[in-house]
C-alpha cells in the first residue's frame, strides 16, 4: 500500500507549483502586454503628433510666406515712390481681416507712418522688437516674426511679421509690418489636440512665439534652457519628452522645423493621456481575466479538495474493510476458541456420566434401573455428539481439521456405524438395513474418522425422522466415486428448505414442528467433512414420503491410483 501522506504532500506540491506558474504567467503576461501596449500607444501617438506637427509647419510656413509676400509688395511700392498707401489699402481690402488685422510701415526713426486701421495715427514704435531687429540688423533682408504683442493701435494681440526696407545703396529706410491674429493661426490645430495637449511655435532664438494649451494662450517664454530645446533645434523633425515648466505636465512632443525658417513647431500630448487611451481595453479586460483566473484556481483547488476528500473517504472505507476483515477473522478465532473450550469443559463431566453409566450397565440391576441407566447413557452420548459437533465446527472453521488418508475397509466402517445405532433403532421400533453393492471395492483411501462421522450424522438424522419406519443405507459404485445413501421414510423436506439444509446453525421449519432437536450444525458439518474428503453431498426428498441423503467419495485420490480401486 502506498503512503497516503506522501501522496498528499506530492499533490500539495504539484498544486502549489501549478498555482505559482499560473499566477506568474498571468502577471508576467499582463506586464508584457502592458509594455507592448504602451509601446504601441506611444508609437501611434508619435505618428499622430508628427502628422499634426507637419501640417502645422506647412500651414505656418504658407501663412508666413503669404504674409511676407504682402509685406514685400508694400515695400516695393514704398521704395519705387508710387502711392504706396493707396496700393496697400487695395491689397488689404482683398485680405481676410480676421487673419491679418492690419498692415503698416515704420520709417527709419521708428515712427509708424502708415496703417490700414481706419483711425490710423502715427505712433512711435522705435522700441518695438520687430523694428529694432532690423534697425540694429545691419541691413540683413530677413523676415522677423515677433511674439504676439498687444497692438498699441489695434489693442489686440498679434504677431508682427516685419521686413526691412533698404534703399538701393543699402540705406535703412524702415520696415514693413504685417500683423497676424494668432487665434486664427492656431485655432484649427487646437481642435486636433488631446486634452492637456499643446501646440507651440518657437524660434531658434529660444523664445516661443505662441504657445496654446487647454488653459489658454501665452508667449514670449524663454525656452532656450529647457532640456529638450537643443534636441529640437538640431534636427528637422523628431520627438522630445517635455516636462513643461509652465503647467508641470510631462508630454510626448513632436517638433518640426517650419520650412527653411528659424522657427519650429511643437505638438505635445500628455503621456498620461496617451497611455490610458490605448490601455483602456486592458483595464476593462483585466478584472475579467483576474476573475476568471481566480475562479479557475478556486475550481481547481475545489476539485482537488473533492478528490482529496474522495481519496480520504476511500482510504477510510478501505481501512474499515480491512478492520472488518480483521474483526471477522478475530470473531471466527474467538468463536473457535470458545467452542473448543466449551467442548473441553463439557467432556470432563460427560466422562463421569458416561463412565459410571457404563459401569452401572454392567451390574445386575432390576429392569427399570437398567432402562434408566441406558437412558442416562444415551442422553449423555447425545450430549457428547453435540459437543463433538461443536468441536468439529471449531476445527473446520479454524482450518485445524486433521485428516489421515488411509486404506479403509468400507464394509467394516459402514457396519460399525450401523451397529452403533442399531440399539437406538430397535428402541424406537425401527430397523436399519444395509445394502452394499458387489461393485464396491473393499478398500477406500479416505479418513476413517471423518467417514464414520458423516455416516453417523446421516443415520442419526434418518432415525430421528423415521421413528418406527426403517432406515436404509445403500453403498454403491458411481463411476470413480463410491456413493453412500441414507434413506428415511419421514416427513420429507420441501425444495425450499432443502437449500437451507447444509448451512450452519440453520434448522428448517419441519424439524422444529416435529420437535426434533438439533443444533443445526449436523448437516453443515457433514457437508464440510464430505468436501474435505473430496466428495459432494445432496438430498432427494418429497414431502410426506421421506428423504435420501447421499454423498459421493472419490476412489483412490490419495495417493492417486495406488489404493482403493478393485475388490
Amino acid at each position: 500500500m502506498q503512503n497516503p501522506a506522501k501522496n498528499i504532500s506530492l499533490v500539495s506540491f504539484a498544486k502549489g507549483l501549478l498555482t505559482f506558474l499560473l499566477v506568474a504567467t498571468v502577471i508576467g503576461g499582463y506586464f508584457f502586454f502592458q509594455k507592448d501596449a504602451r509601446q504601441q500607444a506611444v508609437a501611434r501617438a508619435q505618428e499622430n503628433l508628427q502628422s499634426i506637427a507637419y501640417a502645422l509647419s506647412v500651414h505656418v510656413d504658407g501663412t508666413l510666406e503669404q504674409a511676407d509676400h504682402i509685406g514685400r509688395v508694400m515695400r516695393h511700392h514704398y521704395v519705387t515712390g508710387k502711392d504706396y498707401a493707396a496700393d496697400a489699402r487695395a491689397v488689404y481690402a482683398e485680405l481676410d481681416t480676421k487673419l491679418y488685422p492690419q498692415l503698416g510701415i515704420i520709417d527709419a526713426k521708428g515712427m509708424s507712418i502708415f496703417g490700414t486701421l481706419p483711425d490710423f495715427k502715427p505712433l512711435d514704435l522705435s522700441d518695438r522688437k520687430h523694428f529694432r531687429v532690423h534697425a540694429d540688423g545691419k541691413g540683413a533682408d530677413v523676415l522677423f516674426v515677433s511674439a504676439p504683442v498687444l497692438g498699441r493701435a489695434s489693442k489686440k494681440l498679434s504677431l508682427q511679421l516685419s521686413r526691412p526696407i533698404n534703399s538701393k545703396d543699402g540705406k535703412f529706410l524702415g520696415v514693413t509690418v504685417v500683423s497676424i491674429n494668432p487665434e486664427e493661426f492656431t485655432g484649427v490645430y487646437r481642435k486636433l489636440l488631446l486634452k492637456n495637449g499643446i501646440i507651440a511655435l518657437n524660434g531658434f532664438d529660444g523664445i516661443n512665439r505662441i504657445r496654446v494649451d487647454s488653459t489658454g494662450f501665452n508667449f514670449g517664454n524663454d525656452i532656450s534652457n529647457t532640456p529638450w530645446f537643443k534636441s529640437a533645434t538640431e534636427k528637422e523633425q523628431g520627438f522630445v519628452s517635455t516636462l513643461s515648466s509652465i503647467d508641470g505636465v510631462n508630454r510626448l512632443t513632436a517638433f518640426r522645423r517650419v520650412g527653411e525658417r528659424n522657427l519650429f513647431v511643437t505638438v505635445g500630448a500628455p503621456y498620461a493621456e496617451i497611455e490610458p487611451n490605448y490601455l483602456a481595453g486592458y483595464h476593462i479586460v483585466l478584472p475579467w481575466i483576474t476573475a476568471f483566473i481566480v475562479i479557475a484556481l478556486l475550481t481547481l483547488y475545489g476539485m482537488s479538495l473533492n478528490l482529496q476528500n474522495l481519496n480520504t473517504r476511500l482510504e477510510n472505507v478501505n481501512q474499515q474493510l480491512v478492520q472488518n476483515v480483521d474483526l471477522a477473522n478475530e470473531a471466527t478465532a474467538i468463536k473457535s476458541q470458545f467452542l473448543a473450550s466449551v467442548s473441553h469443559e463439557l467432556r470432563t463431566p460427560l466422562h463421569g456420566i458416561l463412565g459410571h453409566a457404563e459401569l452401572l450397565s454392567l451390574e445386575d440391576l432390576p429392569v427399570d434401573a437398567k432402562n434408566s441407566v441406558s437412558t442416562i447413557f444415551q442422553s449423555a452420548n447425545h450430549l457428547l455428539n453435540i459437543t463433538n459437533q461443536l468441536l468439529d465446527i471449531a476445527k473446520s472453521k479454524s482450518g485445524e481439521q486433521q485428516l489421515d488418508f488411509l486404506d479403509v475397509e468400507i464394509r467394516t466402517a459402514v457396519m460399525e456405524v450401523i451397529a452403533l445405532h442399531q440399539s437406538t433403532a430397535q428402541q424406537r421400533g425401527g430397523t436399519i438395513t444395509c445394502t452394499i453393492d458387489d461393485s464396491v471395492p473393499s478398500l477406500l483411501n479416505t479418513d476413517v474418522t471423518a467417514l464414520k462421522r458423516i455416516l453417523h450424522n446421516l443415520v442419526d438424522n434418518g432415525l430421528k425422522f423415521s421413528k418406527a419406519a426403517p432406515v436404509q443405507v445403500d453403498v454403491s459404485r458411481n463411476g470413480e466415486f463410491i456413493r453412500f445413501a441414507v434413506t428415511d421414510s419421514g416427513v420429507g423436506i420441501s425444495p425450499k428448505n432443502q437449500k437451507k439444509l447444509f448451512v450452519n446453525y440453520v434448522q428448517v421449519h419441519e424439524f422444529e414442528t416435529r420437535e426434533v432437536g438439533g443444533t443445526g450444525l449436523g448437516l453443515a458439518l457433514t457437508r464440510s467433512l464430505v468436501e474435505l474428503l473430496g466428495g459432494n453431498i445432496g438430498v432427494q426428498s418429497s414431502v410426506g414420503k421421506g428423504s435420501t441423503f447421499w454423498f459421493n467419495l472419490p476412489l483412490g485420490i490419495r495417493p492417486a491410483g495406488q489404493h482403493g480401486v478393485g475388490s
Binding site: A340, S343, H344, E345, R347, T348, L350, H351, G352, I353, L354, G355, H356, E358, L359, L362, A380, L384, N388, L391, K395, S398, E400, Q401, Q402
Partner: protein, 122 residues
C-alpha cells in the same frame, strides 16, 4: 502379554475412582493411584508398572511435563504412558504423542477404549 499393572495419575478424585473401577472391569493385574506429580514419582520409585494412565490438566506439574520427566528417567524409556484428557483439539493428540505419550485417550471414553489403550495386545 499378561494383564498389566497400571498407575492412575489424576488430581481429580472422582476421575481417579472412575478409572480404577474401569480398570477393575478390565481385570488388570494391579491398579494404584497418584494425585499429583510427586505421588507419581514416589509410586514408580516404589514399584514398576506396565502402564501409567496420566491426566494432562493437573496443577503445578502438567501431564505433559510429568510424562517428559518420567520418560527420561533410567529404565522408563519403554514404559507405556497413556494420556487421559478432555483436550480434543485438532493438534492436541499430536502434541501429546510428541511429548512422549504412547497413546491418547480422549474423554469421555468407554471401557473398551481404555482396554485398547493400556493393553494393546489383548
Amino acid at each position: 502379554m499378561n494383564a498389566p499393572s497400571v498407575l492412575v495419575v489424576d488430581d481429580n478424585d472422582d476421575n481417579r475412582k472412575l478409572a480404577l473401577r474401569m480398570l477393575q472391569v478390565i481385570s488388570v493385574a494391579a491398579a494404584d493411584q497418584a494425585a499429583n506429580a510427586q505421588e507419581c514419582l514416589d509410586a514408580i520409585a516404589a514399584r514398576s508398572y506396565d502402564c501409567i494412565l496420566m491426566d494432562i490438566s493437573m496443577p503445578e506439574v502438567s501431564g505433559v511435563d510429568l510424562c517428559k520427566v518420567v520418560r527420561n528417567m533410567p529404565g522408563f524409556a519403554s514404559v507405556r504412558i497413556v494420556a487421559c484428557t478432555a483436550h480434543a483439539g485438532a493438534h492436541d493428540k499430536q502434541r501429546f504423542l510428541e511429548a512422549g505419550f504412547n497413546d491418547v485417550l480422549t474423554k469421555p471414553f468407554l471401557i473398551a477404549d481404555l482396554k485398547r489403550a493400556i493393553w494393546p495386545g489383548a
